[in-house]
């Protein structure tokens, strides 16, 4: 569990991407950086373009996003998932 930006504690973080290709690229880069993650379809609440894929990780989210930025992979948005299963946008 990681404490992010505001005051919330989240059980997991969800990074959303424009398409499956970018999510895959992100997953590869996170793997390379030794950060555990998994790729899946975006939950409805996060798929603001209508469809999408995201990469979720339980920890090291800040380092993960920085690693992606360093490789030029832009994350669309970052959401935190609460223990109740709700998603809230997280500021990095």
């Amino acid at each position: 569990m990681e404490h992010m930006g505001a005051e919330k504690e989240f059980v997991e973080y969800c990074l959303t991407f424009r398409s499956v290709t970018y999510a895959q690229r992100a997953k590869r880069l996170l793997d390379g950086a030794g950060i555990d993650s998994y790729l899946h379809r975006s939950p409805s609440a996060l798929a603001d373009g209508g469809c999408g894929y995201c990469v979720s990780l339980r920890k090291n989210v800040r380092a993960g996003v920085q690693a992606l930025k360093a490789e030029g992979v832009s994350v669309s948005r970052v959401f935190g998932k609460t223990a109740a299963g709700e998603y809230q946008e997280a500021a990095l």
Partner: protein, 369 residues
């Protein structure tokens, strides 16, 4: 059978290519559409192929677009850079896949560099063409008819110097010569998947340094709410379901090329071309050869179609005619006769050359009789 028509398509493929196609048919669904296992398996296969292409050509995987062949990629690239009536510089050895789309757009074409195997002539003419401020430039890595390897690094450098956006046609170079697409600074590099990259027919790649305009519109699995095509690659250029089995095979082909190395494949092919040149000289058959030659060789011996047909009936597969490149023939002075083309593949070996030369010796003796 002796297959010497790899310039049209590679016939020999690594066993891994066949296995990958078969496995994709058994395990892959539609990539980028769903989250279930077969869909994700397809997405993984497709992305792995983008990565392999990115590694071989030093290019970001998300800018690797799948096409059905090199021609489709060239059409997309030309439409991205050229508007009706624009002036366009091209080499003197371009294929119809370049010249026909330009003609259809009503472009004013400047063919530059007509002398075979002569880098000085090519580069001097290229610079003269670029000084005329064309809107874009298109050039091939290797003449598909004569195997002439153009000085692409220098041509690219001149394009950058004169600020002319350019397209590289890698139909005959991809997989058989080192190609640093990012380093060249090309706006687009188009290539087939089924020739030197050893994938199945129906596959191709377009490496996009610039943003192309789609000519196919439809579902991409991304931004579905929007009625506009995505403004990012590869989705912008990949409407509809991808050829996943083909891409799986292409991925295996790319990995074979990466493991062996394009330089080694090129050396193997060039060695056989040199042997063929010697053998043809001994048979007193005129051929077109020179420095900077890839694994492709053209020669003339009577009626080229009759000879190719005669050889084909004896299990020697090669191509005769104009090879869809009348401009290259015009440059070499063979437009009226055409040529017989020998094009070696990744499995090039002396037994192929010996088989060809033996058959040609028989042909010559029959003609004499």
């Amino acid at each position: 059978m002796i297959y010497l028509d790899a310039g049209a398509t590679s016939f020999w493929k690594p066993e891994a290519v066949r296995r990958a196609v078969s496995q994709a048919l058994r395990t892959c669904a539609n990539p980028g559409r769903s989250g279930h296992k077969p869909a994700m398996m397809a997405a993984e296969t497709v992305f792995a192929c983008r990565e392999a292409a990115g590694k071989l050509f030093h290019f970001p995987p998300e800018r690797v677009v799948f096409t059905k062949n090199c021609t489709e990629g060239l059409n997309a690239a030309i439409r991205a850079l050229v508007s009706p009536g624009d002036r366009v510089a091209i080499s003197g050895f371009e294929h119809n896949a370049v010249t026909r789309p330009l003609r259809a757009l009503g472009a004013e074409v400047i063919p530059a560099g007509r002398r075979l195997f002569d880098w000085n002539d090519t580069l001097e003419a290229w610079e003269r063409a670029l000084i005329q401020k064309p809107k874009a430039a298109v050039f091939t890595c290797v003449s598909n008819v004569f195997g002439y390897i153009l000085p692409i690094s220098e041509m690219a450098e001149l394009c950058r110097l004169h600020q002319v956006p350019f397209i590289l046609d890698a139909a005959q170079g991809a997989g058989t010569m080192p190609l640093d697409a990012a380093g060249l600074g090309a706006d687009f590099v188009a290539m087939p998947g089924h020739k030197g990259l050893l994938g199945p027919q129906g596959t191709g790649l377009l490496l996009c340094g610039s943003m192309p305009e789609p000519f196919l519109y439809g579902g991409t699995g991304s931004l579905s709410r929007s009625q506009n095509m995505p403004d990012f690659l590869p989705d912008r250029m990949e409407a509809g379901t991808l050829n996943v089995p083909g891409i799986a095979g292409l991925n295996a082909g790319l990995r074979y090329v990466l493991s062996v190395g394009p330089e080694k494949i090129a050396a193997r092919e060039s060695r056989e071309v040199r042997r063929t040149v010697k053998g043809l000289a001994a048979l007193k058959i005129d051929c077109f050869h020179g420095e900077h030659q890839a694994g492709v060789l053209s020669f003339r011996e009577g009626d080229c179609e009759a000879l190719a047909d005669w050889l084909g009936k004896r299990g020697i597969c090669l191509r005769a005619g104009l090879h869809c490149a009348p401009l290259a023939h015009e440059s070499a002075g063979t437009l009226e006769t055409g040529t017989v083309r020998v094009s070696y593949g990744a499995n090039a070996g002396p037994e192929q050359t010996q088989g060809l030369l033996g058959a040609l010796a028989q042909w010559k003796s029959q003609v004499r009789l």
